[in-house]
């Protein structure tokens, strides 16, 4: 009897589970949406900007593409967007789903621009093993290098940061690496402010020149923590250089408690309030004591008259 109940219960669970799974798979786009084509080419530039947008908007739930480290949500976990099962869909189908959202998946119709969405799709498509044609087309072919380094040259006068990316070839020559995107960031309290702009790709000299914002506040001495890295770790692993530079505007933090104000506590009350309050108390008690004193004096005065 007990076994029968167990079997029935497990069958029921199995059924419920498979039901949710099929529900998840049922989400399909209309035929017209499937036909939509990605107007952007699968260039290195587009793929890396797609990766940026992916990391900001999708990664928190879906995890890294192909890594399978998505949030374990119930009843349906977000799918791995780099998996081949997902990339079976057409570009138009993915575009439709990103726009509409479904259940826990929010809509990105208004929150992402069309270009951004296509960039993300371009990025995801770069994981597709069946579509050889749309695989990364490297715009510039760099020689195979090791010991990749970023050298920073900071011009304090016009606040320019010039980063030079180079690597060591097998022959032992240091060569510039071209067409690689760099991120130039400034450390802030809760994260890094990206100041690299739209076009931070290294030129034929391996250089990226970034204008530091002229109005960005820094600490008392004007020091900021700069961090320059190769945006995409897939090329050469993590290549990071950080530097403290005095590029920002020196700012003295204002302490609101330095000023006496009505909203301050007792110790910070305005002088005129303290004076008028203490004055008032002294006056009122003074009058009371004067009256009491006179009352005590009354019998004495009466005696003196007698």
């Amino acid at each position: 009897m007990k076994n029968a109940i167990k079997i029935i219960a497990s069958l029921f669970l199995l059924f419920a589970f498979s039901a949710t799974v099929t529900m998840a798979q049922k989400w399909s786009a209309p035929a017209s949406a499937k036909k939509k084509q990605n107007p952007y080419e699968a260039s290195t530039k587009n793929i890396s900007s797609g990766k940026k947008i992916y990391n900001i908007n999708c990664k928190s739930c879906h995890g890294d593409a192909t890594m399978g480290n998505m949030l374990p949500l119930q009843p349906v976990a977000p799918s791995d967007l780099g998996s081949q099962a997902f990339l079976m869909q057409t570009d138009g189908e993915i575009y439709y789903k990103v726009n509409k959202g479904n259940g826990a998946m929010p809509t990105f119709e208004k929150t992402l621009s069309d270009e951004d969405k296509w960039m993300v799709i371009t990025y995801l498509r770069s994981f597709d093993q069946n579509k050889k044609a749309s695989k990364k087309i490297a715009e510039v072919i760099n020689p195979e290098v090791s010991d990749v380094r970023i050298l920073l040259d900071i011009n304090k006068e016009d606040k320019r940061i010039i980063a030079n990316l180079s690597g060591l070839t097998k022959k032992g020559d240091r060569v510039a690496l071209q067409g690689i995107e760099l991120s130039v960031k400034v450390k802030r309290n809760f994260g890094y402010l990206d100041i690299s702009g739209d076009d931070a790709y290294t030129n034929e000299k391996g250089e990226v020149s970034v204008q530091f914002p002229k109005d960005l506040p820094a600490d008392r001495e004007g020091h900021v923590n700069l961090l320059v890295k190769v945006t995409d770790d897939a090329y050469y692993g993590e290549v990071i250089v950080d530097r403290i530079a005095s590029l920002g505007i020196p700012t003295n933090p204002v302490n609101p408690l330095d000023e006496r104000a009505m909203w301050g506590t007792r110790a910070n009350a305005p002088i005129w309030i303290i004076l008028s309050y203490v004055g008032g108390v002294i006056c009122i008690w003074g009058v009371i004591f004067l009256v009491l004193f006179q009352l005590i004096q009354l019998p004495k005065l009466a005696k003196n008259k007698e």
Binding site: I56, K110, R188, P253, M262
Partner: protein
């Protein structure tokens, strides 16, 4: 004759005063330094003590002194001073809010509040008959000219140097003047025994989180001041699934989104999106800025009975 009696009475009075004062002195002396004094009478004797880093040491009893400050006052001192050089601001993007209410849940977990108590509340708004309804999260505005601290008769609620308005539940007498003074209805009163009071009764009071909550006192949003000390974003900001909140330091002119962790310029964000503050006509100078609910990601037709609107 008359003189004598008056002299007598004065002497008696002085005598009694003297006795009381000396008795009080003796009593307080014993209670304050009782241990140390008793130890001082037996020189050369040592005691075993465990230091903070876990070493057992022997100390001469004569060297023992009672501690003057406990952990509570240390936390309160730190909490009153605030974090130097910071000026915290929050930006709430109304176009992204879809009433997920994850901020409220995270806040209630952090500050040990019941589901019906709100440090932050998501309101359903409709400004006029023909305007579009929208959702509006509303925490304490942490005003730069706070009306609440002006009316506190016991210095329990105060503003710190980093701009955060806090309340000390150990000082609060529960008069609720601050609740009456706040134009944003940001404060709540603990009418009954707080949630999990039994569970947390031995916890040291933390002024930067208002925990454990105290019955008969006022509680309010604190921008998660205890998390800010560890450079973490406030609970509500980091729990939002829709990228509604930005939080940061105005001195650095940067705010970070709690969902995407993207850092942007505070001044640009406000300027480009026509950011505003609530009830600016009152001159309270709020530290919470709102971005208008334009181009909303999630539609809300104002009909709360419709389940589609309750995400």
């Amino acid at each position: 004759m008359k003189e004598e009696t008056s002299n007598n009475s004065r002497r008696k009075f002085l005598k009694s005063v003297g006795i009381t004062v000396s008795a009080a002195g003796v009593v307080s002396g014993f209670s304050l330094l009782g241990a140390a004094k008793a130890a001082a009478q037996e020189p050369g004797e040592t005691v075993n003590l465990l230091t903070q880093d876990g070493q057992l040491v022997q100390v001469d009893k004569n060297q023992l002194r009672p501690t003057v400050t406990g952990p509570l006052t240390e936390l309160q001192k730190r909490g009153r001073e605030g974090i130097a050089g910071k000026s915290f601001v929050m930006v709430i993007d109304l176009s992204k809010c879809r009433n997920a209410r994850k901020c409220m849940v995270a806040c209630q977990n952090h500050h040990q509040l019941r589901p019906d108590q709100h440090h932050i509340n998501v309101l359903q708004m409709q400004d006029a008959e023909h305007t579009a309804p929208y959702f509006m999260p509303k925490p304490c505005q942490h005003c730069d000219n706070p009306p609440c601290t002006k009316v506190c008769p016991v210095d329990a609620t105060f503003k710190r140097q980093d701009g955060i308005v806090l309340i000390d539940n150990e000082r609060c007498i529960g008069c609720r003047f601050c609740i009456a003074a706040c134009p944003y209805s940001a404060r709540i009163f603990q009418w009954t025994e707080p949630k999990d009071a039994e569970k947390y009764k031995n916890l040291t009071y933390n002024i930067e989180a208002n925990v454990p909550q105290k019955k008969g006192t006022v509680s309010k949003c604190l921008f998660s001041a205890d998390r800010l000390r560890e450079n973490k974003l406030p609970s509500c900001v980091s729990s939002c699934p829709n990228g509604v909140y930005y939080f940061g330091d105005q001195n650095e002119d940067a705010v970070t989104n709690g969902t995407t962790h993207e850092t942007v310029r505070f001044s640009k964000l406000i300027e480009e999106n026509a950011g505003y503050t609530l009830m600016p006509e009152l001159g309270t100078k709020p530290r919470v800025y709102y971005l208008p609910p334009k181009n909303r990601a999630f539609k809300f037709n104002g009909d709360l009975l419709n389940e589609e609107n309750l995400h």
